[in-house]
Symmetry: C2
Subunit: 224 residues, 2 copies
């Protein structure tokens, strides 16, 4: 199996499309590595410029600021995730099995190969876990929301919410349950790594623990 996946990430997120040039792809790839290594607060365009041996000015030609760059990376992730969901669900028709597949995706690492985008998927996963809420927990959210920068996230959520509604049309909170599952999958992984007393991780590995917690939460909530 070998194919190219490509998404059109919202063009409000960049000044110049980084997918079109070597340098652009270098910027995104190394940004992922650096944000993972330093954390978003310590990450700067200056440090990134030094890393790829260019200048700040050049990076500013691609992205207005680091917040937009983070949004770009997350949008790429959410689009890829939605693609994976579609891909995994094809040929499945039992709603329960579909939902199990979704939870499995939410709690596993991204598959490594996706064509020319050799982003470090482990790092990308960790960024989503540790930094993604910083993309929306900002004072000017209503401004940036106008540019539809949360569309891929919303699309994924609405797809999952539809599966829930399919499973149990009477359940009252399909969307809120979906966002709770997604955000909780990040939180619980973060807590399991860093503040394990806030979780019930045990001898199981973390991914399995989060997976079983989320399944329990989901299926008890939507039980018919």
């Amino acid at each position: 199996m070998d194919f190219q996946v490509s998404f059109n990430v919202n063009n409000k997120l960049f000044v110049k499309d980084p997918e079109n040039t070597d340098l652009g792809r270098q910027i995104v790839k190394n940004a992922i590595d650096l944000i993972y290594t330093l954390g978003f607060e310590q990450f700067t365009f200056k440090k990134l410029a030094i890393e790829i041996q260019t200048t700040e000015a050049t990076i500013y030609r691609y992205f207005e600021n680091k917040h937009k760059l983070l949004l770009y990376i997350l949008n790429w992730y959410w689009s890829y995730m939605e693609f994976l969901v579609m891909f995994k669900l094809q040929n499945l028709d039992n709603p329960e099995i579909k939902l199990i597949a979704v939870i499995d995706l939410l709690t596993s690492d991204l598959p490594v190969n996706s064509g020319k985008f050799d982003y470090n998927k482990k790092f990308l996963n960790q960024i989503v876990i540790s930094e993604s809420s910083k993309a929306y927990l900002v004072k000017d959210i209503s401004e940036i929301n106008k540019d539809e920068v949360f569309k891929p996230y919303k699309d994924l959520c609405s797809k999952i919410a539809d599966l829930i509604a399919e499973y149990n049309p009477n359940y009252k909170f399909p969307k809120s349950l979906t966002t709770t599952l997604i955000e909780s999958s990040h939180q619980q992984q973060f807590f399991a790594d860093n503040l394990p007393k806030l979780t019930d991780v045990n001898e199981l590995n973390q991914k399995d623990f989060v997976n079983s917690f989320l399944k329990d939460l989901l299926f008890k909530s939507i039980l018919i």
Copy 2:
């Protein structure tokens, strides 16, 4: 009913205890107002100093940096919340009623009066909703965790987790469910305000909506 509540907030969080002086209390009070108004990213000690007509140097005599000040404020909140939980649960012995009382607390505004601490409770609530995850989603979490700065949060969680275990001793994820409920209560309020399509808010007001969602989630999960 009139009484004084006082908590000893972890002394690793300040250089000089702000509760002991007028200026110290001014700093905390106005920090809450400013963080609410500007958001944590735009909030600076310089702006706070101008607001209360003092200098940056003075504020640095109380707090090492703005992250510690945020932690201080959140610790105060979590300690107060634990006090409220204890207070509300006294004389209750039905585990279900206790849990309902907890959810009600998590989804309502703080009571206005608590002695000399005339912090703006509405603002404090919003700060907890919008900024609290920034306190732990940092690269040096394991460092700051050594100073027990998350103790009040952990204590509250463990208290609630105990109630869940009391209700259903066989439920496997009392702690993870607790953190999910708390964090989800913030998230859903934030989404209801800012990205309502990610939720199922309807004609109900937001607090009622979040309240009923969380109760549904909780009691279905721990059903015996």
